[in-house]
């Protein structure tokens, strides 16, 4: 006997019963406003409040780890560099550490300093990019354009040092591929002075603006206990008061010499709330910290070789003989990047390669953050962990699911309207003038 089939309405009703009897299901994404990358959020909302959320990544899965096992180790660096366009040096830095550990390759001190400098320059540009996105989500497009304008010099500087604005092709096993010659130091110092003069402005624009404060204070809270239990990483964990930073906790490169400290809102003399405001604060403080680190590197950097195996053919031959496993970790702008590699003798390609990007660890943090928030806060809360989906997903088929879809324009409009509403309450000088 055939089972009686339920109609679409009955199915929907059944689904609703399972979750929350008075809730509406609102799917957002895979294409949506907070990010320019594909991820689907399903929210169960009661009125304006979010009661439950489900997250479905996988739309950007490219099978990079599989591709990696079909390439030789030098080609692998360039593949790792393309895992993420923003963290384009973080993945190679973690990978080279893993391979150097497995194959027992030494790295000259100067190369380690250069790796740190490029990594910290990347942090400055990534945090500024994120600050611009956050301003846009809140409806402050002037601030978006301002922040992205001041982000340009660091990209120009990276181009000057490495030849590229992103995908710098700098790390290689045993060192780096290009030196930073002393004649480039003045340019680097000029850029650092420029950013130092702007940090105070940025802190003022973001943290002392009553409308931004009203839109981000006590929004998207992740408590210290939740961050700890969910293994959050990077600025997301630090904004919740967890002093967790790979550069501080795990000695690698020259970071033990530089004595980097994990920054939390306490370093600004404020209490920790773990909200979006705190996450903005931590990232801006880290821009300032990166400037200090680079300045110190320029002072302390010794002369010498930049790689221990300068010839690529010799390097490949040495790597082919190598057998063993290794781990590489690096504090990327978004948090911990982790690479595990296993090499077998007489094989050019790695046998196992596992990549862990920061968003992979921070994915779970979204669940407590969205709880009891308003629909208009979805974009800023989603963006607040600085997610990078293509890093984390590494083939998805989209079926035409006709459910209630909120278009990105609609959601952004809701967020902007909320800022207007809130701004008119907290300040008479709202950036939109005082019409009406």
């Amino acid at each position: 006997m055939r089972e009686a089939r339920l109609g679409p309405e009955e199915m929907a009703e059944k689904k609703r019963e399972k979750t929350c009897s008075t809730c509406f299901e609102v799917p957002i994404g895979p294409v949506h406003p907070a990010l320019k990358e594909g991820i689907r959020f399903t929210f169960w909302v009661e009125g304006e409040k979010i009661k439950k959320v489900d997250i479905r990544p996988g739309f950007m899965h490219r099978g990079i780890e599989f591709m990696g096992t079909k390439r030789n180790l030098v080609q692998l660096i360039y593949l790792a560099e393309r895992i993420c366009g923003i963290c384009s040096v973080s993945h190679p830095l973690a990978l080279v550490q893993a391979v150097e550990e497995a194959a027992g390759i030494e790295v000259p001190p100067r190369a380690q300093y250069i790796r740190v400098i490029i990594g910290e320059l990347e942090r400055i540009h990534s945090h500024l990019l994120w600050a611009g996105v956050a301003a846009h989500e809140l409806g402050f497009d002037t601030l978006l354009h301002y922040v992205w304008k001041i982000r340009e010099p660091v990209l120009d500087l990276l181009e000057d040092i490495t030849g590229n604005r992103i995908d710098y092709a700098i790390p290689i096993y045993g060192g780096v591929r290009r030196d930073i010659p002393p004649e480039k130091y003045p340019k680097l110092k000029d850029a650092l002075r420029y950013y130092r003069s702007l940090v105070e402005d940025l802190l003022n624009f973001f943290l002392r603006d009553p409308s931004i404060e009203a839109r981000t204070r006590n929004i998207g809270i992740l408590t210290r206990e939740e961050a700890d239990a969910l293994c959050a990483v990077g600025p997301t964990a630090r904004a919740s008061g967890l002093r967790k930073d790979v550069r501080q906790d795990w000695p690698y490169f020259t970071y033990p010499d530089l004595q980097v400290r994990a920054l939390t809102p306490e370093d600004m003399g404020l209490g920790v709330r773990g909200d979006v405001y705190d996450r903005i604060m931590v990232r801006l403080l880290e821009v300032s910290q990166s400037i200090q680190i680079i300045e110190r590197c320029l002072e302390e950097m010794p002369d010498g070789e930049i790689t221990s195996v300068p010839k690529v053919a010799a390097l490949l031959a040495q790597l082919k003989k190598a057998e063993g496993e290794g781990i590489g970790r690096h504090e990327a702008p978004r948090g911990e990047v982790f690479h595990y590699i296993r090499l077998e003798a007489d094989k050019e390609a790695p046998v196992v390669w596992k990549v862990k990007a920061p968003t992979y660890s921070n994915l779970m943090s979204w669940f407590p953050m969205f709880k009891d928030q308003e629909i208009a806060d979805i974009p800023i809360v989603a963006a607040s962990i600085d997610p990078c989906i293509c890093c984390m997903d590494r083939v998805h088929i989209v079926r035409g699911e006709r459910e209630e879809v909120v278009w990105k324009e609609e959601l952004l409009r809701l967020s902007w309207e909320k800022t207007k509403r809130v701004a008119s309450r907290v300040t008479r000088h709202a950036p939109w003038g005082r019409k009406g």
């Binding site: 700890d228 970071y255 196992v352």
Partner: protein, 181 residues
């Protein structure tokens, strides 16, 4: 806690359950030299939860990821834990190796002890065809729901079939067929 002390404390708590432990210590830095430690050990799946509890007692515990590979008869998992974050230069990587037979691919979930391990456990289910007992959510995470194969397994013909199908579909799309929107 230094790596050596951590290993001693782990041995004391776990006894023979911690099999063939190895310690690697390296010196890092130029002016301020600091030690960095790795602990590699093997463990039976029954003892996994006990080991996680012991690690939790020994310091703030973070799981970076679980890496996995199909090594023929068995599936090998490596749990990469970082013990002791928050103490400058005090973190130790503890890597616990676990062999899971393919005819009984069940591993206890560590989500009860460390809820943050859910993402990485869900990934292992879809990529290696494992089962985690006691996992709060076992749905697919990164792969399409209709994909029955497990991409990291080396003994599954379904996957090559799926790849062939996808390639053929893509080729049709390039000819300017219906699929090209």
């Amino acid at each position: 806690m230094r790596a050596q002390e951590l290993l001693e404390a782990l041995k004391e708590r776990l006894g023979d359950k911690l099999r063939s432990p190895e310690l690697e210590v390296e010196e890092i830095g130029h002016r301020r030299i600091r030690e960095r430690g790795f602990i590699w050990a093997e463990i039976e799946r029954e003892d996994l939860l006990e080991a996680v509890r012991a690690l939790k007692e020994l310091g703030p515990l973070h799981i970076s990821v679980i890496s996995g590979a199909d090594v023929g008869e068995k599936i090998e998992l490596i749990y990469h834990f970082a013990v002791g974050y928050g103490t400058p230069d005090g973190e130790v990587m503890v890597n616990l190796r676990l062999a899971v037979p393919k005819d009984d691919p069940v591993v206890p979930s560590i989500c009860s002890e460390l809820p943050g391990a859910l993402t990485t456990e869900r990934e292992k289910i879809e990529f290696l065809g494992l089962e985690f007992s006691g996992i709060p959510d076992s749905r697919k995470l990164f792969l399409p729901d209709e994909l029955k194969a497990h991409p990291w397994r080396k003994d599954e013909p379904e996957l090559s079939e799926y790849v062939r199908y996808t390639v053929a579909w893509e080729a049709k799309k390039d000819e300017g067929g219906e699929a090209r929107a």
